[in-house]
Structure formats: structure tokens, C-alpha cells
Amino acid sequence: MTAFAPIRTAIWSPRGGVSAAVLVLVVACALFAPLIAPYAYDIQNLPGANTEPGAAHWMGTDEFGRDLMSRIIYGARTSLSVAVTAISISVAAGLTLGAMAGYFGGWFDRAVTAVVDLTWSFPEILIALILIAIIGPGLESTMVAISIAYLAQFTRLTRAQIMALKNETYVEATTNLGAGHFHIIFRHLLPNALTPVIVAGMLATGDAIILEATLGFFGLGAQPPTPSWGAMMSSGTAQIFIAPWIIIFPGLAIAITVISINLFGDALIEALDIRNRLRSV
């Protein structure tokens, strides 16, 4: 019933429709990369390095002579899965922390809020770099770093939601039926708090893709030869003058994906009419 109606509304709005189509395309690229990509992502052809875009290689080749288009298609896998996994972890942790803080209040709430506020006000990039320095490089640590960098946002959002929902009459009504905390939190508060958090998570996925790219600039993130858009852009910086396409295409991929995520997110926010709830952060 109503659960899908807003999504449908969002898709049928002009902005929402176009951006949803782009996102479906990007996700399809990620899922079916081996079927779509014209070449393998890691086959080097050093003599054919830095070839301009042309018939054989629509987006040209990189500094190892690898087909750029194939790498961008496979890169969708890495970039999306890093962003999505990281944000999912972050959302899950944020929901738990935020729900506990918002529901129980007291010193626990104050401690969580203080810590979370502080991490929130530090630049994500710094948090990520420090964490990666602690846990070592690799995709997993990149994900952990990104998820911690965004944890604050979801914790705050969930907390604010729960605080507001906690005062709803139906919560009191259910308590009066004899329900315990567990029932209240899991049957009433969290389900109602979920939508804005998920939409915020979706919007943060876009930021996470950019953060992954920026971490790539510091040489962190996906380990070669696994392609990720961010890593491709950062290693392409060296080629900027002789083979600009190596950095332009991944940059475009990032920009298009992030813009689509934002536009679709906006359309969803409008359709779900949760703008003011997202603001309560």
C-alpha cells in the first residue's frame, strides 16, 4: 500500500524520473559489470597506454593501457559498494545509538550527544585519515572510516526523531496498555523514525562517494588494480596534461551519480513530505 506510493510519486516527478533512471543504470553497471564491460578491468597493454578516446576504446585507455570505460563500469561496483556498505553500517549504528540516546535520555544521551557533536564538527576527511592511519589501508578500513565519519549525522537524526516521537500520544497509549521499552522502541519508534534516516542515508551515499574519491587523493581506498572512481581520478592527476580523459570520465561518473542521488533524494523528500523532519538534526 502506502509504503511504495511516495516512491512512485518521486519517480513520476520529472527530476525524480530522470535521476532514478540514471541511478538504475549505474546500479546495473555495478551488478552486471562483467557482462557490460567491453574489456577486463585489469588487462594491461603498456604500449597502448594513454590512448585517446576512439572506436576501440570509447573513453580511451589509462596509463597502463587498460580500457577506461571497462574500468569505470567495474569502478561503479567498488565506489557504490564502498559508499553503500559504509553508509549502511553508519545508518545501522546511528539508529541504535540514536534510538538509545533519544529514548533513555539522561547521562547516556548527554555522553553520546557530546561525542557525536564533536565528531560531527571535525572534517570527515580528517576523521577518515586518522582512522585509516590506525587501522591500516584497504577497502574495509575505508568503509569503516567513512561510516564513522557519517555516524554522527545519523545518530543525531535518529535521536531527534525518537525524541519527537517519544512524545506522540500513541507511545503513551501503548505504554498504558502495559508495553515495555523493547516493544515501544522496535514496534513504534524505530519504524516511524526510519524513513528520514534512510533518505538522509541515501543522500549521504553521494557524499561518501566523493569522500572515497578524496581519500583516493591521499592514496587510500581501493587497492590496485581494483578500480574505483576516486582512485582512478587521483592516479589520473599525474596524467592530467597528457591524457586528461583519465581523470575527466571518472569525475563525470562521480558527478552524474552524486547529482542523481541528490535529485532523487530531493524528490523522495518531497514525496514523503519529510523535509521538516530531516531539518530537526
Binding site: T169, E172, A173, L177, G178, R187, H188, N192
Partner: protein
């Protein structure tokens, strides 16, 4: 950090609710009516005093005992619009009381139960699969009543159950409540700011002002002795153009609930206030016939 300011939303209130009767509580917005309701049902812990329900002191009940007791005492809320989880269908909302009380039901039992409940409040079982936002305010309030009745309580707190409804619907609900009371032998604590409604509906009337009980009237038609009750009655616009009257306007403003008032809470606005009134708090004195008043210079 918020500065700590303590306020007493409800201050030294004593009253009893006789079985099988309708006890009404009136008072202006913010005077602590809902807080009183919450205290009575132990949805809030009182800082002082006790609530004895059916011979049991609620404050000393364990969680499990309390849960059992809650089957006996239920509440209908002021705002029907938010009294049902917007994500729940009416059916699910009506089954929740049993789920919470750990009372498993077969599919058939569940169906029969909700059908019965919904017809009891005069709604069609067709509505069971709707969501709250698809119902009108009056219908939602009926669902709220059905839900409160699900566990077959003997005591119902009605916190301004019609305040957000139109008159034509308010009358329906009041009618329904009257019928249910007879049918199920319920005891009501009926809270309202509408003096006419309380006097129409209730056997006894408790008048509150700023968290305190000003007066308890044994019968709906008893003449008030307290100046506040009098002012309240006076401010009531009678729906009769032939009986227009000039309201004797009360001076002063309602004091802030944070203010510490040593004397009578109404002293600042009372036309008959004397020195004592501002200094000393008038006790709630029994005037006989179940009539009680907290006033130094009661009217005659």
C-alpha cells in the same frame, strides 16, 4: 544544558473516584488535568503522594504486576489524531493490546475480537484495514475508545476526548461513552475544559486551577462556592441569543506555572481576595454533602 526550573504541574491533589460513577475534572488549559490523568495511571511517577486503585498502591507495584493492573485501567486521549501509530492499520492497532499483554490469539479469535470491538464503538468492520490517516477525527476517536476497551477495563480515564472534535461529532462521542458506561459498567474519570459538557456528563465535578483542586461539587447542578468556579461559569457563553449577558471580566493574568504562589493560586484574579488569600493557602475543606472547597472566603 537547560537551566533547571522545577514546576509543580499538579500540586497536592486529593480526590477519589467512586466506582461506577463519572467524576469530572475541569480547568483551563495547562492547569494540570492531563498530568493528573498520567499520575492516576502511573504513566508518570508522582513525587509525593499515593494512588490507590482497587485497594492497591500503584507506586509499589512491580513491572509485571503493573502490566496486569493496566488491563483494568485504560485511557482515551485528548488528540485522536496522534493516538494511533500512523503505520498501523486499525486492525493491528486493535490487536496490539493483546500482543502487549502476551495474549496470543488464533486468526479466527483475532478476527472475532476486532470485529466485536469495532462494532461496539459504532464503526463498520470494513474500516479495519484502513490506516488512521484515512479516518475522520471522530472515527479515530472511536478507534481510540475501542482500543482502550479491548482489555475489558473497569476504569477509564477520558482526557478531553472531544476537545479536538466538532460539536456534532462531540455529541456523538459523548453519546457513545454514555452508552458504553451503562453496557460495560465502567467507571470514568472525565477530563475537560468545557464546564457545560462536564456538568452535563458527570456525577461529580472537580475544579482545578494551576495544579490545585479549587472545589469539588457533588452533583452537576450544585451551585459553586468558589470564586474561580463562579468565574468559570460566568465566562461560559450560553448558546442562547436571548440570554445575552455582560461578562464580569476577571482582572489580571494567569500566573506562570513556574511561579511559586504561597497563598491561593487564584488570589491574583479573585474579586473577593483578601490579605490571607495571598499569604496562606486555603485548605480543601469539606462542607458536607460531598461538597469541598478551598477558599478563605467562599461565596454563599
Amino acid at each position: 544544558m537547560k537551566p533547571r526550573r522545577t514546576m509543580r504541574a499538579v500540586n497536592d491533589v486529593s480526590l477519589d473516584v467512586p466506582r461506577g460513577k463519572v467524576t469530572g475534572v475541569v480547568g483551563e488549559s495547562g492547569c494540570g488535568k492531563s498530568t493528573l490523568a498520567r499520575l492516576v495511571l502511573r504513566l508518570l511517577e508522582a513525587t509525593e503522594g499515593t494512588v490507590i486503585f482497587d485497594g492497591k498502591n500503584l507506586a509499589t507495584q512491580s513491572q509485571a504486576e503493573m502490566r496486569k493492573l493496566r488491563r483494568q485501567m485504560q485511557m482515551v486521549f485528548q488528540d485522536p489524531y496522534s493516538a494511533i501509530d500512523p503505520r498501523y492499520t486499525i486492525r493491528r492497532a486493535l490487536l496490539e493490546p493483546f500482543q502487549v499483554q502476551g495474549e496470543a490469539k488464533t486468526v479466527a479469535e483475532a478476527r472475532a475480537t476486532v470485529d466485536e470491538l469495532i462494532s461496539m464503538v459504532g464503526l463498520s468492520p470494513r474500516m479495519l484495514d484502513s490506516f488512521p490517516h484515512q479516518l475522520s477525527g471522530g472515527q479515530k476517536q472511536r478507534v481510540g475508545i475501542a482500543r482502550a476497551l479491548a482489555l475489558r477495563p473497569s476504569f477509564l480515564v477520558l482526557d478531553e476526548p472531544t476537545a479536538s472534535l466538532d460539536v456534532s461529532i462531540q455529541a456523538q462521542i459523548v453519546d457513545l461513552l454514555e452508552a458504553l458506561k451503562e453496557e460495560l459498567r465502567l467507571t470514568y474519570l472525565f477530563i475537560s475544559h468545557d464546564l457545560s459538557l462536564v456538568r452535563y456528563f458527570c456525577d461529580r465535578v472537580v475544579v482545578m486551577y494551576l495544579g490545585r483542586v479549587m472545589e469539588i461539587l457533588p452533583g452537576a447542578k450544585t451551585q459553586p462556592r468558589h470564586h474561580y468556579t463562579h468565574a468559570l461559569l460566568d465566562s461560559n457563553f450560553e448558546p442562547d441569543p436571548t440570554r445575552r449577558k455582560i461578562v464580569t471580566m476577571l482582572g489580571g493574568e494567569i500566573p506562570s506555572p513556574f511561579a511559586k504562589i504561597p497563598g491561593c493560586a487564584f488570589a491574583a484574579r479573585c474579586p473577593a481576595a483578601s490579605d490571607v488569600c495571598t499569604r496562606e493557602r486555603p485548605p480543601l475543606t469539606n462542607l458536607g454533602d460531598g461538597r469541598m472547597v478551598a477558599c478563605h472566603n467562599p461565596m454563599d
